[in-house]
């Protein structure tokens, strides 16, 4: 690791002030991505702003048909929360598919979303549920938040404080894991809330998470895997690497979308 100065602010305002003063500073949440990246010297921020001591940044709350999750809430907390399990079991399950048990005890939803790893699970949940990302400055719709691989609309001194999820009527997430890293080679999140249908894909696109409008249109007619039969997406813009070609990933998007819809309507494929 390159040397850095360590700050422990106690409020979001202090953290934002430190970010304003130190343009190259990085926020440290659970650290499950940032610290390994720093150890490899792929990142070398001169200033680290640790979020641990800031109170009120974690917690889960249901209010009517929305679920609010604090940015510092860990994957394990989301996975095991009775509130999430009851209100949005798809989110609890998704959180339990991230990393491994020890990583889930540290990694946070805010950190995952801010990082926007193209293979991460939470961006698919945010886009697939139409979440609102709340920062110290504003509220941002998931549809506008994710702008590309490892990039978001977050401004330099902007800090995610919580994420608000509207609760779906039906939803499921299907993840096809890379057998070695266990990251999503492709993950497809589908949801239905009233007339709003969303299909969000992670892992596949070379530009990060994206929605599949053609699938959404087809599912509007009937929310059934049959509506997607024979449908594919173009391989253009898909990732291609040693783990899978662009064509393979495009194929998986169709397969996983059909499986996700089947799971969402309670008829999972055998």
């Amino acid at each position: 690791m390159y040397a850095f100065t360590f700050h422990r602010p106690q409020t979001v305002r202090q953290a934002a002030g430190l970010l304003t003063k130190n343009g190259d500073a990085k926020l440290l949440a659970g650290g499950q991505t940032l610290l390994p990246t720093m150890k490899l010297r792929l990142a070398g921020p001169p200033q680290i702003i640790d979020m641990t001591l800031i109170e009120g940044m974690s917690g889960i709350e249901q209010s009517g048909r929305t679920l609010t999750i604090g940015a510092m809430t860990t994957h394990n907390e989301v996975n095991t929360s009775p509130v999430v399990q009851q209100a949005a079991p798809v989110l609890a399950k998704l959180a339990g598919m991230i990393g491994d048990p020890a990583v889930r005890h540290r990694g946070t939803i805010g950190g995952s979303i801010a990082n926007n790893d193209p293979n991460a699970d939470y961006p698919a949940a945010c886009l697939g549920l139409g979440a609102t990302i709340v920062t110290n400055k504003r509220r941002i719709k998931a549809d506008e938040f994710f702008t590309g691989m490892f990039s978001t609309v977050l401004e330099p001194a902007e800090i995610i404080t919580k994420v608000i999820f509207p609760l779906p009527k039906k939803a499921a997430y299907q993840k096809f894991r890379n057998q070695a890293s266990r990251f999503a080679l492709v993950g497809v999140f589908v949801s239905k809330r009233g007339s709003e249908i969303r299909v969000a894909v992670t892992g596949a696109g070379s530009n990060g998470v994206f929605r599949v409008k053609s699938f959404e249109e087809a599912l509007k007619k009937r929310f059934s895997p049959k509506s997607l039969e024979g449908m594919t997406i173009p391989a253009d813009g898909m990732n291609s690497d040693i783990h899978g070609s662009a064509e393979y990933r495009a194929h998986l998007v169709g397969v996983l979308a059909r499986r996700a819809v089947a799971e969402a309507i309670g008829k999972p494929a055998a």
């Binding site: 040397a3 499950q32 610290l35 150890k39 640790d50 394990n76 990393g99 048990p101 020890a102 990583v103």
Partner: protein, 171 residues
Amino acid sequence: MAASDTAPVSMTVNGKPISANVDPRTLLVQLLRENLRLTGTHVGCDTSQCGACVVHVNGKAIKSCTVLALQLEGADVLTIEGLAPADGPLHPMQEAFRENHGLQCGYCTPGMIMTAVDMVRRKGNELDDRTIREELEGNICRCTGYHNIVKAIAAGARAMRGSGATSKAAE
């Protein structure tokens, strides 16, 4: 504070309060091994994949190679050395690994045992093979001696029932 300066940190390790002045880059596993000489916690991969460095922080299993010591001000840390009293009987999970020969070279064992004890805390005393194997996703045994490790964890989990042993047995 210049980037090379040290910073103070205090926490509880195996029931004892400790304080240290550390370079901000110091990982928890370095503090444990190099400052406190608690070398039971191992560094296998140093990339948060292998789980040889698993310890408990505030009662939860974490990878000590992927957390800065400075992030743990005031935390309660339990390492393999603190699982059972030095002069007393082994923790039931340790005893189960011995009894079932849940190791070959032994390098991954401290992390396996700390993960196993955390698994019991979260999943209970009756663990089927599938659960154990899923839960061991973050612990790698390069001798590939998983079969006996899984057997040991199932037996250890049952033995922990009613033994009064928890993840804080040494306190």
